[in-house]
């Protein structure tokens, strides 16, 4: 089968790989019909995530058709079209039992801090991902969810990660009716977080980025205010002023380790790798939220350390909530939102690229060429 193949920082190609097999009685094999490239893949692509081995296949946002099931799979059958959540979860450990499906303890031996994630380095379990024609999916009865008949598959593929992550970012913000919510990052995740902040009753939603085409899009799509941090000098001061010198009620970091905007953070975080990526957005989030406010982090950072003003977290009495999205937990509610037309995930997709052109797709998305917001890869075996 054809699969994306990582060769080193900013070098990928497609190659022939062996077909995935059932390796555990609860596995299934899925023929991928769509898979996305995510902002999280940029951290891998840039070589920021330790134990990213040459020859790995990325891809944690995919849907497909069940082709084969293990002897202990009972809820799925061959031929089902499924949404595959990006986290691999057993459903039985103490963490899964609390619906912390992003923190499963039975899906990754290689780190205890993170559960198994498809196509996300050996630090997240060493699974081959879905940027391929086929993928092995463990615990097939737990994560994969049958796509409702009425649902457009372009919506379905975004339910694997972007929608639940954006929604959970807003949820963890503990938004109270009328709150001012500031979101750093107008990527797919940040834009979805802005959209979802309204569902929780936000009174004012502000999104910050430096790419005008994304800000323009966000303003329309998420009906929010959108500002370019490059035009405001000091973003923290700007946000203080625009909240009557009080600070935002909730700040969301939807940027993570590949942030721009501070030379010190970029040099120490991305060039010298003295910290686990650049924590610029988190720094701004902590400093722009009100005293006693909430910072919700969904932007991904590496496993070592980052430079953040922890003293201000203390002095301001902040609550910090963060997690990998617990996709399975949120799917029923999110499917309802899509059905009712409250969320329109497929509106985020800007590029459809054949799997064979994966190298170009990565470059376009990472370098933000051609006003790219969300690329979807389509394997030639998608239609069979």
């Amino acid at each position: 089968m054809l699969a994306m193949n990582y060769r080193g920082p900013r070098r990928v190609r497609v190659s022939e790989k062996p077909m995935p097999e059932i390796l555990h009685p609860k596995d299934c094999v899925v023929r991928v019909t769509r898979s996305c490239i995510c902002g999280s893949d940029i951290h891998l692509y840039n070589g920021l995530v330790p134990d990213t081995r040459v020859g790995s296949t990325f891809g944690h946002e995919f849907i497909g058709v069940v082709e084969e099931i293990g002897p202990d799979v009972h809820k799925l059958k061959v031929g089902d079209n499924v949404i595959v959540p990006f986290n691999i979860a057993c459903g039985e450990c103490a963490f899964c039992k609390q619906e912390l499906y992003g923190n499963c303890h039975e899906s990754n031996s290689q780190a205890t801090a993170v559960g198994g994630i498809f196509g996300y380095s050996h630090t997240a379990g060493g699974y081959d991902g879905g940027q391929a024609e086929y993928a092995r999916v463990p615990y097939a009865d737990v994560g994969p969810t049958v796509i409702p008949e009425w649902m457009d598959h372009d919506d379905a593929v975004l339910l694997t990660d972007v929608v639940p992550t954006g929604y959970q970012a807003a949820e963890m913000g503990g938004i109270k009716t009328g709150d001012t919510v500031v979101i750093f990052g107008a990527g797919p995740v940040g834009i979805m977080a802005a959209k979802c902040a309204w569902l929780f009753g936000a009174g004012r939603v502000i999104i910050i980025d430096k790419l005008d085409y994304r800000l323009e899009f966000a303003k329309e799509y998420a009906q929010c205010e959108a500002y370019n941090y490059e035009d405001m000098g000091d973003p923290v001061l700007f946000l203080k002023k625009t909240t009557d010198w009080f600070g935002a009620d909730v700040c969301i970091d939807a940027v993570g380790a590949d942030a721009t905007g501070s030379a010190l953070q970029t040099i120490t975080g991305k060039k010298l790798m003295l910290q686990a990526g650049a924590a610029t957005a988190l720094h701004w989030a902590i400093n722009s939220v009100k005293k006693g406010g909430i910072v919700s982090i969904v932007g991904v950072y590496g496993p070592t350390d980052n430079l953040v003003p922890i003293g201000n977290v203390l002095n301001k009495g902040l609550t910090v909530r963060a997690n990998q999205a617990s996709v399975k937990r949120l799917l029923p509610r999110l499917i309802e939102h899509v059905k009712e037309g409250r969320l329109n995930p497929k509106g985020l997709i800007t590029h459809r690229v054949p799997l064979e052109e994966v190298a170009d797709a990565y470059h376009i998305f990472t370098s933000k060429l051609d006003n790219c917001l969300k690329p979807v890869l389509i394997p030639s075996t998608a239609k069979k």
Binding site: V54, H105, N323
Partner: protein
């Protein structure tokens, strides 16, 4: 509340998930108390391995399932195994892994050549996309690189004379 909802009529679904009782919210809300049983839950069946899987020393056994892509090999593999002697809290774990990742890139090129495949690095970096959407920058970069190479080349040659 009524009043404020009126203000947001233009936003479909505004406030439908507002729930003042949802506090503290995720990741806390489904707390079961089972945490005090520690890791003694009924485990899923264990995957049988035919490849080497490294294990964090912060857990006693392998997790029930794991990915099997790219087992450790070569010099990078030696470093990766060494890294797993240290906990996830230690630089002794992460720095050797990052170094191994870089060595692995060179191993990848050597493997490619051994298999008779010379990697097309510009294509792997997506140069076709640059040509399509970023042509000006690509040309500028190429011209600058050519100029630097030319200057270096002539400087070296004149030195030799």
């Amino acid at each position: 509340m009524e009043n404020i909802a009126d203000q947001y009529k233009h936003i479909k679904g505004w406030g439908v998930d507002a729930d003042p009782t949802n506090e503290p919210t995720h990741p806390m809300k489904k707390y079961t108390g089972d945490d005090h049983n520690r890791i003694n839950w009924q485990r899923p069946a264990l995957q049988q391995y035919t490849v080497e899987i490294l294990k964090s020393n912060e857990r006693p056994t392998l997790s029930a399932v794991n990915g099997t892509s790219v087992p450790p090999s070569g010099l990078s593999g030696v470093l990766r195994r060494y890294a797993f002697k240290f906990s996830e809290s230690s630089y002794g774990h992460w720095l050797p892994l990052l170094l191994a990742d870089r060595i692995n890139v060179v191993e990848g090129i050597i493997d490619d050549i051994k298999e008779g495949h010379f990697p097309n690095i510009p294509a792997e970096r997506g140069i076709a996309a640059d040509w399509k959407y970023n042509r000006k920058a690509l040309i500028q970069k190429t011209v600058a690189m050519a100029a630097v190479s030319f200057i270096l080349f002539t400087a070296l040659r004149s030195k030799r004379k």
